[in-house]
Symmetry: C2
Subunit: 237 residues, 2 copies
């Protein structure tokens, strides 16, 4: 049966053996055909798994925002193998990252889809937040416009309070401080905010505090990889 | 600084080296104090990581639905170590599993919270579903009552269609067939349903099809560990 492996990548610097299981590294070593976000960095990652990785024997198909369904169909139909991997730039493919569209096509074609274990910053942040992990939502990026962003934050806070649902979101690293300002300005004092920074790297720092404490304790998040989590159900005492 | 490690467990039978990174296994080997869901099965897991694991030197604190905040506070204040682990029965702690409450207390006490990489059936199912991973919700169990369950399914389908948000939910294994019946009975024919079974085990099977195909193809899910994912935004053609 044709197979597509969903291959995890590291989230940043650090020891690969803390984030990619040995067996997963072996699975990757056996592959030669890859859907990738960036060929250059993927080559570097494969060399990290095995300095002897036969890069020259590998076939890479770059996917990006310009990739069409026709491109992917063409690639699938011209494969000379029945085993393909898909790798994103960081973390797991198809979650907060491209790849889902390719997986959808693979299902349509009747391929076996095999997800491999690795780091997901969203999942690790949720585990470490101390917030409700039995009911949660990941909503991606919030609006860039200040007024719309603060309206959205109010909306997420209301949903969280009403449904006891953890709200998870992200921001581009150079805009993290603006998001932090909107959060401490908009949320209720006892709403809990978790700021999870540079997860699974030596710079990792994960902290959950109520808004009234975050107002006094400005986090060092400028140009860092950060996940934000909000919980307005649990009352901080 | 005091530390609490969030320790992943396997999702079922299979090779531990495909789901738990080597470095994570080493971190676990260094711990002697654990919050656990079940002492007996945790002992077995530790022995799997290292047949020589000094179980008799370990301290286990069992957490379950009867554990109170006072119990946890008492345990924290009587610890003779400053490094503790928390392990759930399967997958990662604090996500669709107990543990979040302990992590919340650890944050309050100013402990460093460190999530370790391992398998999460929710995350692996989402990766492999081919559905939107940039906006998704995990909502836990649906109602047991048939009418309420089908009402909830309709509600989730509407949210998914409106927000382009993947809806993820679970059921107790012996009730999977009832949930399947409700899904194929309630959802629109072109709504996509992913049934992800026994993830990361030798029995793994993950399949995304539109409802009209699931109506003809009954899945073998009775008494299996299954995650269900719904997408009503993408039109199946």
């Amino acid at each position: 049966m044709n197979k597509i492996f969903l291959i995890p990548n590291m989230l940043g610097k650090g020891d690969i053996n803390f984030v990619i299981p040995k067996g997963v590294q072996e699975e990757i070593k056996a592959l030669r055909y890859f859907f990738v976000e960036n060929i250059r960095t993927t080559r570097r990652y494969l060399k990290k798994i095995d300095p002897e990785f036969p890069i020259d024997d590998c076939h890479f198909f770059e996917i990006n925002t310009h990739t069409t369904q026709q491109d992917i169909d063409f690639y699938f139909s011209n494969l000379s193998t029945k085993v393909v991997g898909i790798i994103s730039e960081s973390g797991v493919p198809a979650v907060a990252d491209p790849g889902a569209h390719i997986v959808a096509i693979a299902h349509k074609k009747g391929w076996q889809v095999i997800p491999l274990v690795g780091p997901s910053s969203i999942l690790l942040a949720l585990m470490a937040s101390g917030m409700n992990g039995q009911n949660f939502s990941f909503v991606g990026y919030l609006p860039k416009d200040k007024i719309l962003r603060e309206k959205k934050i109010k909306h997420l806070e209301n949903i969280s309070r009403k449904l006891n649902q953890t709200q998870i979101f992200i921001e581009t690293p150079y805009r993290n401080r603006l998001l932090y300002e909107s959060l401490v300005h908009t949320c209720a004092p006892d709403t809990r905010l978790c700021i999870a920074k540079e997860i699974s790297t030596p710079e990792e720092n994960i902290l959950t505090l109520p808004i009234f404490k975050w107002q006094k304790q400005k986090p060092d998040i400028h140009k860092k990889n950060v996940i934000f989590l909000l919980d307005a159900f649990y009352k901080y005492m």
